[in-house]
């Protein structure tokens, strides 16, 4: 029973709210000897595992720190390039920490605005007239539920595929939005939601649903 996150997209397609709820944190630290038994590459200004999966370090994981010192992009704190350091046998044994890549806020904004045309295309592709857009998007590790209100705001919930009642949850989030965002006189429409009351009530709602199911809200 896991809900990964909640997103709200405004009528014009901008991300106005996101909340990462329960994304399991995966971090692995290991001592490596020369030569490295995994293959690392640069990707999107990060150092990523490209091949050689072991000890929970999977392809796609990102190098976070070297000998306990965090990495700034591809550079160590002292300015040395990390791939060069890893090619020099003198630096070994070396402790590397890997973790799953986290989405930055910018990437989230980008993906949210990407979903907007997908939703619209889906309704146009439909063989039946007057079809809605995407309501559920399913993958093997998650399901994305999207509820579009009559005013055009989209409420999205990303959850485990087995999690029931998520359609109802999106409507509950809508109610919270109507109460705690729109009734806040200092919140202006279409702008990002930075309302603490909204966030705390949302977290309470998500936790209740995870613990005791959708029927209890």
């Amino acid at each position: 029973m896991v809900i990964y996150g909640v997103y709200i997209v405004s009528k014009s397609g901008g991300l106005i709210f996101n909340h990462d709820h329960n994304v399991p944190k995966i971090e692995h630290e290991r001592v490596f000897n020369y030569p490295l038994d995994i293959k690392l590459i640069y990707e999107n200004k990060k150092v990523v595992v490209a091949f050689g999966q072991r000890d929970g370090i999977n392809v796609g994981h990102v190098l976070m720190s070297v000998n306990g010192a965090p990495l700034a992009g591809t550079l160590l704190e002292d300015g040395r390039d990390v791939l060069e350091v890893l090619e020099d046998p003198q630096n070994f044994p070396i402790t590397l920490k890997f973790s799953r890549a986290k989405m930055t806020t910018n990437e989230k904004i980008f993906l949210a605005s990407m979903f907007y045309p997908l939703f619209a295309i889906a309704s146009q592709l439909s063989p039946e007239p007057r079809s809605s857009g995407i309501e559920v998007l399913e993958a093997d590790t998650f399901r994305l539920y999207c509820y579009q209100t009559l005013t055009g705001v989209k409420f999205m919930v990303v959850a485990e595929p087995s999690q029931p009642g998520m359609e109802i949850l999106t409507k509950r989030v809508y109610e919270l939005y109507a109460d705690y965002a729109l009734k806040n006189p200092f919140y202006s429409l279409e702008m990002p939601i930075r309302c603490e009351l909204f966030e705390t009530n949302l977290v309470t709602l998500l936790e209740t649903v995870e613990k005791s199911g959708i029927s209890s809200v």
């Binding site: 619209a120 889906a122 079809s131 809605s132 009559l150 055009g152 109460d179 729109l182 009734k183």
Partner: protein
């Protein structure tokens, strides 16, 4: 207003508090603008800003669908008055084309303790309602206009609010809805 189970409970607020607050607002506007027409305009504008937010509350708590007929709209507006003001206006005087109707109020919580003084006979005391209707309908892609044709404050026997459908805002309809 809030749903049961949320932190603010659903106990209704005393309508007198609301009546008096609204009265204070109108009185203050009269003081600030010193011109009845400006006050009418300002009330409408404030109502509009309330309407565009209030509609979400209405939709979230009623779960009602889109209107494809103005008679649907009329009934939903009526239920909105029930939810937010606790009164049920009657729907009457449909125009032949079905694009205009009247909401008749026997009693109106906004005007409960009000007598209009002689110097503001042109004041549309409840003009905020016309703004609310316009804002709320606009958010669900419908342009309407409304105005008062009878007013108990002006010695009519009832208050009558006329609502007219102007057009559907086709451009604004969200994808997957039209």
């Amino acid at each position: 207003m809030s749903r049961p189970g949320t932190r603010l409970d659903s106990k209704k607020v005393n309508s007198e508090l609301f009546t008096l607050t609204y009265g204070a607002l109108v009185a203050q506007l009269l003081k600030d603008y010193e011109n009845v027409d400006d006050v009418n305009k300002q009330l409408e504008r404030m109502g509009y800003n309330m309407g565009i937010r209030l509609i979400e509350d209405f939709l979230a708590r009623t779960g009602s669908g889109r209107c494809y007929d103005f008679r649907d709209t009329a009934e939903k507006i009526q239920s909105g008055f029930k939810i937010f003001l606790g009164i049920t206006p009657t729907i009457t005087n449909w125009s032949a084309a079905g694009d205009e109707f009247s909401l008749c109020f026997e009693s109106n919580p906004l005007t409960e303790f009000v007598e209009l003084p002689d110097n503001c006979l042109n004041l549309k005391y409840c003009n905020i309602l016309t703004g609310v209707l316009r804002g709320a309908c606009e958010m669900v892609q419908m342009e309407v206009s409304s105005w008062f044709v009878q007013d108990q404050l002006k010695n009519d026997s009832i208050t009558e609010l006329r609502v007219k459908f102007i057009k559907r805002l086709e451009d604004a309809i969200p994808a997957g809805e039209d």
